[in-house]
């Protein structure tokens, strides 16, 4: 199973499913961005979850036709509500209503689940998703469904895109606008309802928005935006899946993070590569300055913190110690260092003992002579003792670490603060000179 072919077999279906998702979601995402209602998918997905839960509470399995009917009915109601928000948009932002629909649908789901607890499983599933365990039949079903919806959208692309682009459609019959909006939201609802149970709310949301945003960074034209969104979205899914396998991470969350990473790269590419040489140089300088300034501020805060509360936690110091491998014993004497290291060894040893006893007990559950209840109690009391001793050793380590930091208080704190202050001063001066130059050059031209 651990061979490469097995891994590929495990990841092939999730990848196929996510590619299918990207194709339809990125396209709908462009619409959603133009309509300025990015949270509509969450609202619709939650309404579909509510529908499925209500079906369950009435005794119909979620996967049955009736269950699906309930889910579809509730999302259709959601589509109708979203259609109505366009006429309300004159008074308040549409996004506010979308948010209200989402929150109320979530709360209603919790209330229904409370009456029919078995539905909780379904709600959990919608949040986390299960793209890793998607089945071939599901992928085929998605592809067929999205194919039909894609075809319908392609046939009606002109009026739909026009409606998405206009906040107050002019020269159109009100009924035509309503029908167009409702048709869009309904198709959107069907897509989201089907994808959310597999991919989960988080992943669906990011597939919908992130590729469309990346595409929109580079162009306004649909014929440019879509190819970029599709290719980048699919690449991000592949990277997320591979990362999830290589680093042993939950799949959905890893894929969402990968999308965000690609968005960051796209943003950097936009400001550093797709601009004129003058502008690029300027952007690069701003980026470097910002990074250096952030590092200097962290150093300043850390040094001042060390001087004010020497025994407190020092994340930056601990990070430097971990990276350089010096450990917290630099400011300890030889005997103190020995004590620190032996405490560290004992922690490992005691926890090893606890694990060993657990393994022994576990093995005795099903092989050899069973352990009596008194044996188990004895093991438990040994383990508790080891845990207490571990705590003692950890306490020793903490005391020694505090001692070391107490000694480092001025030796590290003062130089750290001075370096940070000088650096920040230099940065400020440079920025000042630059802005003066910039203003002068503006004046001359």
């Amino acid at each position: 199973m651990s061979g490469l072919s097995d891994v590929l077999a495990l990841l092939a279906l999730p990848f196929a499913a996510s590619a299918v998702f990207v194709l339809v979601h990125a396209y709908l995402g462009v619409h959603v961005l133009r309509r300025r209602i990015v949270f509509a998918d969450l609202a619709l997905a939650q309404l579909s979850a509510l529908g499925a839960t209500v079906a369950f509470a009435n005794g119909y399995p979620v996967t049955s036709a009736t269950g699906f009917g309930y889910a579809l009915l509730f999302t259709a109601i959601g589509a109708a509500l979203l259609t109505l928000t366009r006429s309300l948009a004159r008074y308040v932002s549409q996004e506010a209503f979308v948010g209200i629909v989402y929150v109320v649908a979530t709360a209603a789901t919790i209330l229904v689940v409370d009456r029919a607890p078995q539905g909780a499983e379904h709600v959990k599933k919608i949040l986390i998703g299960s793209i890793l365990t998607v089945e071939p039949a599901d992928v085929a079903k998605f592809a067929a469904l999205y194919g039909v919806i894609g075809l319908l959208h392609w046939l009606a692309r002109r009026p739909l895109l026009a409606l998405s682009g206009e906040s107050a459609p002019v020269g159109r019959a009100r009924v035509a606008v309503w029908i167009g909006d409702f048709a869009f939201y309904l198709s959107f609802a069907v897509v989201v309802t089907s994808s959310v149970t597999t991919a989960g709310v988080l992943l669906v949301f990011s597939l919908l928005i992130v590729p469309a945003v990346i595409g929109s960074i580079f162009s306004d034209k649909l014929s440019v935006v879509l190819p970029i969104a599709w290719s980048v979205g699919i690449a991000a899914c592949a990277v997320g899946l591979a990362g999830s396998y290589a680093l042993d991470l939950p799949t959905g969350a890893a894929m969402v993070t990968a999308q965000a990473g690609f968005l960051l790269l796209a943003g950097l590419a936009k400001v550093l590569m797709f601009v004129g040489i003058e502008r690029r140089r300027r952007n690069l300088r701003i980026a470097v300055t910002a990074v250096v300034a952030a590092m200097l501020i962290a150093l300043l805060a850390s040094s001042v913190g060390l001087m004010i509360v020497p025994t407190g936690d020092q994340p930056l110091l601990a990070f430097v110690e971990r990276v350089t491998g010096t450990g917290p014993t630099r400011f300890l004497g030889p005997s103190e260092r020995d004590a620190y290291e032996s405490a560290a060894r004992d922690v490992v040893r005691f926890q090893g003992e606890v694990d060993r006893l657990n393994a022994m007990e576990k093995a005795a559950r099903y092989q050899g002579a069973p352990l009596s209840d008194d044996d188990i109690r004895r093991i438990a009391s040994y383990q508790k003792t080891f845990n207490e001793m571990t705590r003692g050793e950890r306490f020793v380590q903490e005391v020694l670490r505090a001692k070391a930091q107490m000694r480092a208080r001025w030796i590290v704190g003062v130089p750290g603060m001075l370096v940070a202050l000088l650096g920040l001063l230099w940065l400020t001066r440079r920025l000042w000179i630059e802005s003066v130059d910039f203003a002068r050059s503006r004046l001359q031209s």
Binding site: M1, S2, K124, S130, S244, R365, Q367
Partner: protein, 309 residues
């Protein structure tokens, strides 16, 4: 005339008083956090107690959100029975809110049912809560070993007798009756599962160490090692490969968890997925403590192909 009226009123009040007070005096009001403990209190208390659980049947006790009515339940309680070991961690805040000292740890009306139980899988109390939520001290699913019911009912009986000493004989008789039933059934359960002793299983969560120890089963891996965090592909691949190597014969799945991952692993290993009840009332046909084991034992035996006697 006046004295007559007063007498009439007092007489009526006295009558009303006895009517209302009689059952309240007789029945001890017990609140248990979970349905399992409520079921065990019910068999020991019989008709001498009224018992309710805070977590309704079929709700995951580790993901439970208390509601205002629970405060009233707690205030009315003569005895509060909890699982302990961090399983019903939300109880502490709830009790604090009632302000009743007798319901606090060490109070007269407080019973931690884990007292005296031989505990399994004690973990280090590190700063980070590794290995999932609420399993900080020991694995808390101890009621899933039928022998632990002996210890739990002993604690319950002692507490009930302390509250109502006059009912001592009845309570002890109730418990003895239950224990003799338990012994008969326990023998039958062991007999049913004896042919499959040593069988390797995979479980969704780590809910079964006590059950596995009593019936000599080996749960080799867990599909979702941390509650609420979906398994990574590497973890799933590892579980499948270990399952294949160990020749796992079934996937045990708890209710209130999504089934996809369990079904997926079961499909890869071509073994059945078995839904077993962690708590009384979480699956149809598990309405009391003995029925819980009847159901779990029969379902598991059937899935593993052992004949039920």
């Amino acid at each position: 005339m006046r004295a007559g009226l007063l007498g009439l009123v007092m007489g009526a009040a006295a009558e009303l008083g006895t009517l209302v007070a009689a059952p309240a005096l007789a029945a001890t009001n017990v609140v248990a956090t979970t349905t399992d403990l409520a079921a065990l209190v019910a068999v020991v208390g019989g008709n001498l107690v009224t018992v309710e659980s805070i977590v309704p049947p079929g709700v995951d006790p580790e993901a439970f959100e208390p509601r205002p009515g629970d405060l009233g339940k707690l205030r009315r309680a003569d005895l509060l029975v909890r699982v302990g070991l961090g399983y019903d961690y939300w109880l502490d805040a709830l009790v604090k809110q009632t302000g009743e000292k007798r319901l606090l740890r060490g109070g007269d009306a407080y019973l931690d049912a884990s007292t005296g139980i031989p505990l399994l899988e004690i973990r280090g109390q590190s700063v980070v809560n590794e290995g999932g939520h609420a399993h900080g001290v020991a694995n808390p699913h101890y009621w899933l070993d039928p022998d632990n019911a002996i210890t739990i009912t002993a604690g319950v009986a002692e507490a009930l007798v302390r509250i109502a000493p006059t009912q001592r004989e009845q309570i002890l008789a109730n418990r003895a009756g239950f224990l003799s039933q338990l012994e008969t059934r326990r023998a039958r359960w062991s007999q049913t599962l004896a042919p499959v002793a040593g069988t390797k299983l995979i479980a969704y969560h780590n809910s079964w160490p006590y059950f596995a120890r009593r019936f000599r089963l080996d749960v080799i891996a867990f599909i979702e090692p941390k509650a609420g965090v979906a398994p990574s592909p590497a973890h799933l691949a590892r579980v499948i490969s270990e399952g294949r190597k160990a020749q796992v014969r079934a996937i045990v799945h708890e209710p209130y968890e999504p089934e996809d991952a369990s079904r997926f692993v079961a499909g890869k290993l071509s073994v059945p997925m078995v839904r077993l009840a962690v708590s009384v009332g979480s699956i149809d046909g598990t309405s009391d403590y003995l029925a819980l084991f009847d159901y779990n034992v029969a379902t598991l035996a059937k899935a593993l192909g052992a004949r039920s006697p």
